[in-house]
């Protein structure tokens, strides 16, 4: 069996989180999903701070990052990730319910690798997550 890369899902909304994990589970990816609820936590995880101080596993193969979050939003997280010499190599997929162009532009400017609008249609949503997850988690060789 192939070893999948870890997926870091940054999502504040528990419903969305559940739905996303559900969708990923459908493709047997749930074991490799680490979920954090906001930007601060995501950075703690990535930089091994706070409660993730003793984290031993390696960095995720892909980060699914929601934009609209309390405390620190996804754009800010993306900026910090992409300015770190090591972390910037991790592919980042922006997940958002917004179709606002400004978010899209800013995300790509900051170096986001993909941008996925969370469709309301669950089916579409599943397809989107599936595509992104498979692509990044399966096909891409991660940088160790």
């Amino acid at each position: 069996m192939r070893k999948y890369n870890q997926i870091l899902l940054v999502e504040d909304n528990p419903n969305d989180r559940e739905l996303t994990v559900g969708a990923l589970t459908e493709y047997n990816l749930a074991n490799d999903i680490i979920t954090v609820s906001d930007g601060v936590e995501a950075l703690d995880y990535l930089f091994k701070r706070g409660k993730y101080k003793d984290r031993v596993n390696g960095n995720p193969g892909v980060i699914l990052l929601d934009i609209k979050m309390p405390r620190m939003d996804g754009i800010e997280v993306l900026r910090i990730i992409k300015s770190d010499p090591v972390l910037k190599l991790i592919p980042v997929v922006m997940l958002t319910s917004s179709r606002e162009e400004q978010d899209l532009l800013e995300s790509y400017n900051l170096g986001a690798n993909a941008y996925v609008v969370k469709p309301v249609d669950f089916h579409e949503f599943i397809v989107a997550i599936k595509n992104v997850g498979l692509f990044w988690a399966i096909l891409n060789e991660s940088v160790k």
Partner: protein, 1045 residues
């Protein structure tokens, strides 16, 4: 001619070269001779291996050198002459010997002593004898020197030139034949040294000749010239003597050798004197010594006897020569004496000649004087007869003695003879005059310019001046008179004319003065008439002016003797007779008319009687012309007949034209005065206009002083004008120099530049006023037209202020709107995120529920789940469309040029791709290019086309037509379908948000698409509208402006 000519070498240098050559030649000759004597081959030939120069040639060269030396030497002594002449002679002889030797194949034996031991040496043998060519050369040299002294210069030069040619030939021969030429016995070649020396020598001679030729004469003493004949004679004599002795008299033997030589020497001496005799004697010895061994083949002097006989011969010869010399000199002296005598005779003859010439000159003078005297008399006679003055000689008893032609002419007679018949007293006009005249002459002895009237043959009187003297006889008695008569009749006449002319001049001048002085016509006329009578001495004068109403001439002024003449004159211009007099004619013709003889003038008939009675004898009328039109005439009357002659009339014409001019001037003056008055009035009018103008008018002079201020300006200035007028601008308005307006007034004053401006003026009390100022250059200075615009300005200011406030408000409002817009934006952002999330969750979890609980749920429950999911999706679509709609109102517009065809096709294809249905009939026309925003217009077409497809989807054969047309300022696009259409009474609702005319069941839709279209098109500056009918399709139009600002 010489072979070369020397042009560029100075005589001094030529002389030097020539002398150098002579020295060189002598030295060479001596060297060769030395060679022969001491048997040194090198010295003999100079060129080893070549044949040497013969001793004879060497000797000849020495002589030639000497000769050349002497030639170049300034010859002062006779021996020098002899030296070169003998040298030349000897050279010739040596040359001749050489030739003879060759021709006769004999050896004269001069060089025998060199040959003795030469039998074995052929070359030397050949050298010993002089070559014939050298001989010829020496002959030429000798001859040229000899003949040179006779000045056969050209021949001498030619002769010398020949030697060069011969030498060169020899030289060339050497070059060509090499040594083969050396064979002795066959030829006698010239040595190479000789040929060189000959050339050199010849050059030396030619240089010398060139000196002579260049004009430097040798300047021989005369007696040295032409004295070569005695030597030639000596030579010839000796030659003859030798010949005689050698051949015909050979039998006489040796003892009597001298027999023929004695006479030769004697003859020579007699002919040529001592030296010639001596030369002959030595030549004889020479011949005897050298010829004899050759021809007689034995030496001449064998013993002392021979020597003694030679000595005797020589002594005898010297004696003979001495005697001959004495005789010669005696002969010469005699010759000289004779010459002296002849000279004396010639002198005397010359003196005689001179005296004769002197006499001739004297005689000539006498003749000349006589002729002169004769001429003088002739002159006097001519003078007497041709004098233009009458010259006379009379006797005491009153008879003519002599008179000239002028006298005959003076008295009007046809000849002298005729005049001779007339007695002198009869010639006096007044016999008493003669008695007085004669007594005056007798008393004074003469009269000078005595004025007497004489009578001519025809009886007319002439005025004369007589200048005469008394003639006395030897005893002192008066025998008569002589003198001249001058006719002064014409002069007197001329004097009279001048007097008249002076009168007229005075008249003219006084009238001119009057013209200057008098500015009134009537007075001028009176004065002119008075002057004519007083100064012009006319008996009467008057001025008539034409009365154009009755066409008659009316007298307006007169002076002098008139009585009732003028009252009755009645010059009617309509009547031919009454206007035929001078006055009428002058007025009619515009020219002066003269009636010089009133008594006999037919034109004067109407007035003759009274005129004659008043003493008028002649009259003249002069037209008076004003501005080219004759207005009357000036008439003058004289008591003399024929008073008006050409000169006077000319002056009087001038006077008339002066008076005319004066009248013109007066008229002009009147007109001018009238104009001035009018001008003054008009000025007054202008001035009052200015005074009453609403605009302020001010004039400032060049000195900055106020000249003029009108009422309005007074108000504008807010100061009484009396306060300003005459004062300086800057004194009245302190501080004005710093203002704009002052600058422009200054510029206008100085540069005459006009300026228009609006100026805010601050009055001394601090009040402000706005004025429109027009600053203009006028002759007086600067004209300032001012218009009070203070009120207008304050209104303008108010408007300006209002505008500013308005602008401020707009800015504020815009800012407000912008902030509202921003709020709206963040609101819609939130909506898009936060409203969508729950829907997504509903949909998501239902899906998950369906997955997990599908087996437990009944069909009804499953349908409920489907409805919930559909509602959630519907809500999501609604939110998306609303966001889209709101974004269309906010996004910035980017204009670009867009081909509508591309967009329409693109959008159509995109929509059709989702349908998988090609039942649609698309009729798309060619669409124009427009300038607009690409993404927006694409959304418009997307909405419209998808609508058309959607609403015609239930028709069997849907037809969609897309086209455009041009309106006035816009392009209109439309899309037409044959679908469901709409109820046109609701057409106004079509473009509103959430407005739908069909149910969702019939056609899906949110009701936002057309609202978005409407919003976009109105933002792009166009309009939208629609036409339709239920079930019959619809047409949707939108327009875009043709031009985008």
């Amino acid at each position: 001619m010489s072979l070369f000519e020397i042009k560029h070498i100075s005589p001094k240098n030529l002389n030097l070269i020539s002398k150098s050559i002579s020295v060189l030649t002598i030295l060479t000759g001596i060297a060769v001779l030395t060679g022969w004597v001491f048997d040194i081959p090198l010295l003999q030939s100079f060129f080893p291996g070549f044949i040497g120069m013969s001793p004879g040639s060497a000797a000849a060269f020495i002589l030639s050198g000497l000769s050349l030396w002497f030639l170049n030497y300034t010859i002062t002594k006779s021996w020098q002459i002899y030296a070169w002449q003998i040298s030349a002679f000897s050279i010739t002889l040596l040359g001749l010997f050489a030739i003879l030797q060759f021709l006769l194949e004999i050896n004269f034996g001069f060089t025998r002593r060199f040959i003795d031991d030469l039998a074995s040496n052929e070359m030397k043998l050949s050298a010993v004898l002089m070559s014939p060519a050298s001989g010829v050369n020496f002959v030429f040299i000798g001859i040229s020197v000899l003949i040179y002294s006779r000045k056969y210069l050209a021949a001498a030069r030619a002769s010398i030139s020949l030697t060069i040619i011969i030498s060169l030939f020899s030289f060339i021969n050497y070059l060509l034949n090499s040594r083969s030429y050396l064979h002795p016995g066959t030829t006698y070649p010239m040595s190479i040294l000789s040929s060189i020396l000959f050339t050199l020598n010849a050059a030396g001679y030619l240089f010398f000749f060139a000196i002579e030729w260049k004009g430097i004469s040798l300047n021989f003493p005369e007696r040295f010239r032409y004295k070569w004949q005695p030597y030639l004679a000596a030579f010839l004599m000796v030659l003859v003597a030798a010949s005689l002795r050698l051949w015909p008299l050979q039998s006489l033997g040796l003892r009597t050798v001298w027999v023929t030589f004695y006479p030769a020497v004697m003859l020579t001496a007699i002919y040529g004197g001592f030296t010639a005799g001596l030369v002959a004697a030595f030549l004889s010895c020479f011949t005897a010594l050298f010829l004899w061994p050759v021809f007689v083949d034995q030496p001449f002097i064998k013993d002392y006897g021979d020597l003694i006989s030679m000595m005797i011969f020589l002594i005898t010869c010297i004696m003979i020569s001495g005697v001959a010399e004495v005789m010669l000199r005696a002969r010469e002296r005699e010759k000289q004496t004779n010459a002296a005598l002849e000279k004396e005779i010639a002198d005397r003859k010359a003196v005689e000649n001179e005296i004769r010439k002197l006499n001739e000159v004297l005689e000539d003078r006498v003749k000349e004087r006589t002729a002169e005297l004769l001429m003088n008399e002739e002159k006097y006679r001519t003078f007497f007869s041709t004098s233009r003055d009458c010259v006379f000689i009379t006797s005491n008893d009153g008879r003519w003695i002599e008179m000239n032609d002028a006298a005959v002419e003076l008295f009007g007679y046809s000849s002298k003879d005729e005049l001779f018949q007339i007695k002198i007293p009869d010639l006096y006009a007044n016999p008493a005059d003669r008695i007085k005249h004669i007594s005056t002459i007798k008393e004074l002895g003469y009269t000078k310019d005595y004025s007497v009237d004489l009578r001519k043959k025809d009886g007319s009187i002439i005025n004369t001046l007589i200048t005469s003297t008394v003639r006395y006889d030897e005893e002192g008695n008066i025998i008569g008179f002589m003198g001249t008569i001058r006719d002064i009749t014409e002069r007197k006449h001329a004097e009279e004319k001048i007097r008249n002319a002076n009168r007229v001049y005075a008249l003219l001048s006084n009238i001119n003065q009057a013209i200057v002085r008098i500015k009134d016509k009537k007075i001028l006329f009176d004065e002119a008439c008075r002057i004519a009578v007083d100064d012009g001495k006319f008996i009467m004068s008057w001025i008539g002016i034409v009365n154009s109403k009755i066409n008659k001439v009316e007298p307006v002024a007169s002076a002098g003797l008139t009585q009732d003449y003028l009252a009755s004159i009645n010059i009617d211009l309509k009547d031919e007779k009454l206007s035929g007099g001078p006055t009428g004619l002058a007025i009619k013709s515009g020219k002066h008319i003269i009636a010089n003889d009133i008594i006999n003038d037919p034109t004067m008939i109407p007035w003759r009687g009274s005129a004659v009675k008043l003493g008028y004898r002649s009259s003249a009328a002069f037209p008076l012309k004003v501005f080219g039109k004759t207005i009357g005439a000036f008439m003058l009357y004289s008591s003399e007949e024929f008073f008006f002659d050409e000169d006077e009339v000319k002056l009087l014409d001038e006077m008339a034209s002066d008076i005319s001019f004066a009248i013109e001037f007066i008229e002009n003056e009147n007109v001018r005065k009238q104009n001035e008055e009018e001008l003054r009035k008009s000025l007054e009018r202008f001035s009052s206009t200015l005074d009453n103008m609403l605009e302020g008018c001010q004039i400032i002079g060049y000195d900055w002083r106020y000249i003029y201020i009108n009422g309005s300006a007074e108000k504008h200035n807010r100061r009484p004008k009396a306060e300003l007028l005459g004062n300086k601008y800057m004194d009245m308005w302190p501080g004005i120099e710093q203002t704009e307006v002052f600058k422009f007034i200054k510029r206008c004053l100085e540069e005459r530049v006009n300026h228009y401006m609006e100026n805010e003026f601050i009055f001394p009390d601090g009040a402000h006023g706005w004025f429109e100022l027009s600053i203009q250059a006028v002759p007086e200075g600067v004209f300032i037209l001012s218009h009070d615009i203070t009120e207008r300005k304050s209104a303008e200011n108010k408007i300006l202020k209002l505008n500013e406030e308005l602008e401020q408000k707009v800015i504020e409002r815009t800012a407000q709107l912008e902030s509202v817009n921003k709020e709206l934006e963040s609101f819609s952002y939130s909506v898009s995120h936060d409203l969508r999330a729950p829907l997504r969750h509903i949909d998501g979890f239902i899906r998950m529920l369906q997955n997990s609980a599908k087996a437990k749920l009944d069909e009804k429950s499953i349908r409920y789940l489907g409805v919930i999911s559909g509602a959630a999706k519907q809500m999501g679509q609604l939110i998306d469309d609303l966001l889209h709609f709101s974004r269309m109102g906010r996004t910035a517009i980017n204009y670009s040029t867009i081909d509508m065809n591309n967009i329409v096709t693109d959008v159509k294809n995109e929509i059709m791709a989702t349908l998988m249905n090609d039942k649609y009939d698309w009729q798309i026309s060619n669409l124009p290019t427009v300038t607009t925003d690409y993404p927006m217009i694409r959304i418009v077409w997307m909405n419209l086309i998808s609508n058309a497809v959607k609403y015609s989807s239930k028709v069997d054969k849907p037809v969609i037509k897309i086209d455009s047309f041009q309106e006035k300022n816009e392009v209109v696009f439309y899309i037409k379908d044959n679908g469901a259409g709409f109820d046109s009474s609701y057409a106004h609702k079509l473009f509103g948000v959430f407005q739908r005319l069909h149910s969702t069941e019939e056609f899906e839709g949110t009701g936002i698409g057309l609202a978005t279209v409407n919003r976009i098109i109105s933002r792009l500056g166009g309009r939208t509208w629609a036409e339709g009918e239920t079930g019959k399709g619809a047409v949707f139009y939108f327009s875009l402006p043709s031009k985008i600002n």
